[in-house]
């Protein structure tokens, strides 16, 4: 064949090139030839050139200059040229190129060509790269071909119609009537296309779905014919008669029978027949069986059938062929939500598949195992998952760790188990855990107060063994800092006691500080922990001072700032050191899975390394450091509201935090205003502007009478567009003589920026008498605006 000879010659030459550079040279020369060829115009050589160009394109070289040539060749009258032209169009053109519009007319003409092969070329091209405009133009032609042509063209036209519907869903109605009639065709190719078309139509429009439900008996008939027919050599694949068509019909039946009783009833017998009669020793049979099982599970089938289906899947799971096992796990994944108990029965086998060599099978087994974890089997499952984590392939690690954490969060039987599990994960795969793990773990540890001793001992031992896993080291440093005194006490009921001296602890922290493996954040943790230890240990305070002052000239800005501030704490504010570095309060759970609380909560639960001792608000941005210190020296008796403002640290890694900082509020002294004063009860209000639309209001009730005020409750109402969130009050008893106060925080979200008003109803009992009063606040004390927000 002439064109092939030319093409083959070129291919031979290209293959003889020994280096990449040589190949490039040859191809450049060839492309130059081809370009010259195209410019010359029609001389019978164009198709060869285009064939060569397509080969070059496949190897990855640019071939866009062939696009116009494709258009010209398609318009030619010769079949050989049309053939290569259409192929070129499918490879080089797409709807984004302008040249594609030019072939619309050629396609239109070719669709009515006398030769069916030309028609088929046009149909093929339209189905591959037809744009929405082309589809709209040519849809009537396709519809005509659907109805009246031979089976070869019909099957192509059907698939072309599917493409049109995908591109232009509005045209779906055009094809609905013909689709139905196609079901009575005998040719399997056409039937196959028809089923695909109907599936596509049903997906787009529920109304059409109802219409096609009437076709269920017909489909059942066709399936029965396929399943029970005697050997037909034409469509036979490994003993099954046309499995491709069977699978398609089963899928369509699934869509039609879903949530519909009448349709499901009509299919029950057929599904039972297929499930029992299909021979699953070869892939083809398994494909049909697997599709049948999915269909049974998805429609309203009777329970006997469902049991049969799950049993088939269980059998698949035990099959030696890995493909079958993979497929059965994929299908179990689909039904685990609805038929959880049925899948639980196979948990043992699934967990065994975690140990399979094949990565794909492992991945499926992991997904399924995570879905099967429940409160009942959490301990055994977690054991298996942890074993899996130690041997799993790297691409699955982060998924495994997050799955383990989720499961542990939801179903952990005890806090100690939970902490142990997380520690185990951190030691095995600390590099692949999510970023929120560290704060989440720390939060968890603080809430488990009875386990502080145990936890800190375990973490210390882990730290001494290995300091390469950053998340583990960070948590360990934090805990040692917080609970160092428990560590040094040495005794702990839950693990064998080991004597840890102060020097050991400081050595460990210093190793972390100096190691090249520690990230800057980890060093920050370690430095803060060292500092905190200064109040928890007795002998080596000087050593701590020297460590801290060493870092005050560190290149890393974050460490330097911390060191300088800690130094200041040692030198000028030594009397406050104990108060500043005392134990952290229990933190609010603010993890993403938790619905409670917005981020402007009482204590900002972000990276605790940035969470400085909040009570003092001391270690905040350098700009306001001075005024903060003054604040502290003020010694006001209003407890400084633990507002979120001071907790943001300037040198954080995420830019979101930085923006937060710039838009956040400075801890300037907040204004207090008295809004209500009666019968000895006074109500003050303090405002903090969080963001442009959010205000945090703190209501403080104090009592100057002789008797305690009890049952003190506040209710608040705001204008309609404002959202109100009241936090829990600090208490409901206000001691007498101004000895104490009750505070309650209210968060207002004002997206429409209306003028804020609030009406508060106060109710309390004093000396046995119940009082109730309402007060309206029309103007809030304006908080000082941060410098970045322009004042009104």
């Amino acid at each position: 064949m002439p064109s092939s000879v030319r093409l083959q010659e070129m291919i031979r030459v290209i293959r003889s090139a020994r280096t990449q550079g040589e190949e490039r040279g040859i191809i450049q020369k060839e492309c130059a030839d081809i370009r010259a060829q195209f410019r010359q115009g029609d001389n019978g050589e164009r198709s060869h050139s285009l064939a060569k160009l397509l080969y070059v394109h496949m190897l990855g070289y640019p071939a866009h200059f062939g696009q116009m040539e494709c258009v010209r060749l398609i318009a030619s009258t010769r079949y050989s040229e049309k053939r290569i032209g259409y192929l070129g169009a499918m490879m080089l053109l797409d709807e984004k190129q302008d040249a594609s519009l030019l072939i619309t007319n050629s396609i239109k003409n070719d669709l009515s060509h006398s030769s069916q092969y030309v028609q088929s070329l046009a149909l093929c091209t339209l189905a591959c790269m037809g744009s929405a405009e082309m589809c709209r133009d040519l849809a009537p032609e396709i519809e005509r071909l659907l109805r009246a042509s031979n089976s070869y063209i019909k099957k192509k036209a059907t698939l072309c119609a599917v493409h049109i519907i995908r591109k232009v869903p509005e045209l779906a109605e055009m094809f609905t009537p013909s689709a139905r009639s196609l079901l009575s065709e005998k040719n399997h190719g056409v039937l196959h296309g028809a089923v695909v078309l109907i599936t596509e139509l049903c997906k787009h429009n529920p109304g059409t779905l109802d219409q096609f439900r009437k076709a269920v008996p017909e489909l059942v008939q066709i399936m029965k014919g396929l399943v029970t027919s005697s050997y037909s050599p034409e469509h036979n694949v490994a003993g099954i008669s046309d499995p491709f068509l069977q699978v398609r019909i089963l899928r369509l039946l699934r869509i039609l029978g879903h949530n519909n009783d009448t349709a499901s009833d009509a299919m029950n017998d057929l599904l039972a027949q297929v499930a029992t009669n299909t021979d699953s020793s070869k892939t083809a049979g398994s494909a049909v069986l697997y599709e049948t099982v999915l269909t049974i599970m998805d429609i309203n089938s009777e329970s006997g059938l469902r049991v049969l289906a799950v049993n088939i899947l269980g059998r698949f799971l035990l099959n030696n062929d890995r493909n079958i096992r993979y497929i059965s796990m994929t299908s179990l994944q689909k039904i685990v939500q609805t038929d959880h108990n049925a899948v639980q029965r196979h948990r043992g086998t699934i967990v065994d598949c975690l140990k399979d060599q094949d990565t794909s099978v492992k991945r499926r087994a992991l997904e399924l195992s995570l879905a099967l974890v429940s409160a009942v089997n959490i301990r055994s499952m977690m054991k298996e998952l942890l074993i899996f984590l130690s041997t799993c392939p790297p691409e699955l690690r982060s998924h495994t760790t997050s799955g383990i954490f989720n499961a542990a969060e939801r179903y952990s039987p005890s806090k100690r188990w939970h902490i142990d599990t997380i520690l185990h994960v951190l030691t095995t795969a600390g590099g692949d855990v999510r970023d929120e793990t560290v704060p989440n773990l720390i939060q968890l540890i603080t809430t488990a107060s009875e386990l502080h001793c145990y936890t800190v001992h375990k973490l210390y031992r882990a730290l001494v063994k290995d300091i390469s896993q950053q998340s583990l080291v960070q948590v360990a440093c934090w805990c040692i800092g917080e609970y160092g005194d428990l560590l040094l006490k040495g005794e702990c009921e839950e693990i064998e006691p080991v004597q840890v001296t102060e020097d050991d602890v400081l050595d460990a922290l210093e190793t972390v500080l100096q190691s090249h493996m520690s990230s800057p954040a980890t060093r920050g943790f370690a430095l803060t922990a060292t500092m905190k230890l200064s109040t928890r240990i007795t002998d080596n305070v000087d050593r701590i001072r020297s460590i801290v002052s060493n870092y005050s000239s560190c290149i890393d800005l974050e460490l330097q700032q911390r060191a300088v501030e800690y130094n200041a704490l040692f030198r000028k504010y030594d009397h406050m050191r104990a108060a500043v570095l005392e134990r952290m309060p229990v933190m609010d759970k603010n993890s993403p899975g938790h619905t409670n609380g917005d981020t402007s909560g009482v204590i900002k639960e972000t990276d605790p390394s940035k969470l400085k001792p909040v009570e003092a608000g001391l270690l905040s941005e350098p700009a306001s450091q001075v005024c903060d210190l003054l604040d502290l020296l003020d010694g006001t008796d209003t407890p400084l509201q633990p507002s979120p403002a001071p907790t943001n640290n300037p040198t954080t890694t995420s830019s979101a935090d930085l923006l937060d900082l710039l838009g956040g509020l400075e801890p300037a002294p907040v204004l207090t205003e008295t809004v209500y004063e009666k019968n000895g009860l006074s109500l003050k209000i303090q405002c903090d502007k969080q963001t442009d639309t959010e205000v945090m209001v703190t209501l403080i009730g104090s009592n100057s009478t002789q008797n305690d005020i009890t049952n003190f409750t506040l209710q608040a109402a705001v204008p309609k567009s404002v959202q109100l969130q009241m936090k829990a009050p600090s208490g409901n008893v206000i001691p007498a003589h101004g000895l104490g106060q009750v505070t309650q925080t209210v968060v207002l979200n004002n997206p429409n920026k209306v003028s804020l008003k609030m009406r508060i109803r106060v109710s309390y009992s004093n000396q046995g008498a119940v009082h109730q009063d309402t007060v309206q606040i029309d103007s809030f004390p304006s908080p000082t605006c941060p410098p970045s927000v322009s004042p009104l």
Binding site: P2, S3, S4, L7, Q8, I11, N43, G44, L54, H57, M58, G60, P62, A63, R78, Y79, S80, R83, I84, L87, D94, E95, K96, S115, Y117, C124, C128, M129, K155, K156, L159, V162, H163, H188, G189, H192, G193, V237, D242, F244, V247, R251, T283, A284, S286, A287, Y290, E291, R322, N323, R325, Y326, I327, T330, Q357, D358, T359, S360, V361, E395
Partner: protein, 192 residues
């Protein structure tokens, strides 16, 4: 829907690439490289399904592949296709190639890339399975080839003539008639 069909050899050289979704050229080459990288790592006795590539279609797609001697046949499909069905389809496609090329080997795919495309066009169209009956596919491809040959036209005549003469089955015309020593026995005639 089938998103792409790739055939490459054990070293990653592409032998046939067909994308049913638009990708820029460099993206196409990157997909080929990534797919080869993923598939070549696989052992021979593991399952034929692969997940985890990120270039085509995101999370919904799988790679279903079969390894025949020196070639990998990879189909990238999304979840609407039956995985085992696609495995069978790859088998059907390869057997069809075998019938069309008579014991197909890699060289056939290299030198007749356009023919392979035409065969593929009869099996998969627009990302959807068109025909799975091998005999039907082979018959249609035959007819199309015949049609292309028949309308060769005048410009093809000289080349066709040359190939016709080459293929002509003429009996051997003896050129050198080598009459070796022939002992012609002359009967001795009696003297008159």
């Amino acid at each position: 829907m089938i998103k792409a069909i790739l055939i490459f050899n054990n070293h990653g050289k592409p032998r046939l690439i067909r994308f049913y979704q638009y990708f820029a050229e460099d993206m196409q080459q990157q997909i080929i490289r990534e797919t080869f990288h993923l598939v070549s790592k696989r052992d021979d006795n593991v399952c034929n399904f692969l997940e985890g590539g990120s270039l085509i279609g995101g999370s919904d797609y799988k790679l279903i592949y079969r390894h025949y001697a020196t070639l990998y046949f990879v189909f990238c499909v999304d979840s609407s296709e039956s995985e085992l069905g696609i495995l069978d389809l790859i088998q059907v496609f390869v057997e069809t190639l075998d019938k069309c090329f008579e014991n197909v080997c890699e060289l056939d795919l290299i030198f007749h890339m356009d023919k392979v495309h035409y065969i593929l066009q009869e099996v998969v169209m627009g990302g959807m399975v068109l025909e799975t009956n091998m005999n039907e596919i082979v018959a249609q491809v035959e007819l199309q080839n015949r049609m292309e040959k028949s309308e060769g036209g005048l410009s093809g005549a000289p080349a066709r003539a040359v190939s016709a003469v080459k293929n002509m089955n003429l009996p051997e015309i003896p050129r050198n008639i080598n009459i070796g020593d022939i002992n012609i026995k002359v009967p001795s005639l009696s003297p008159f």
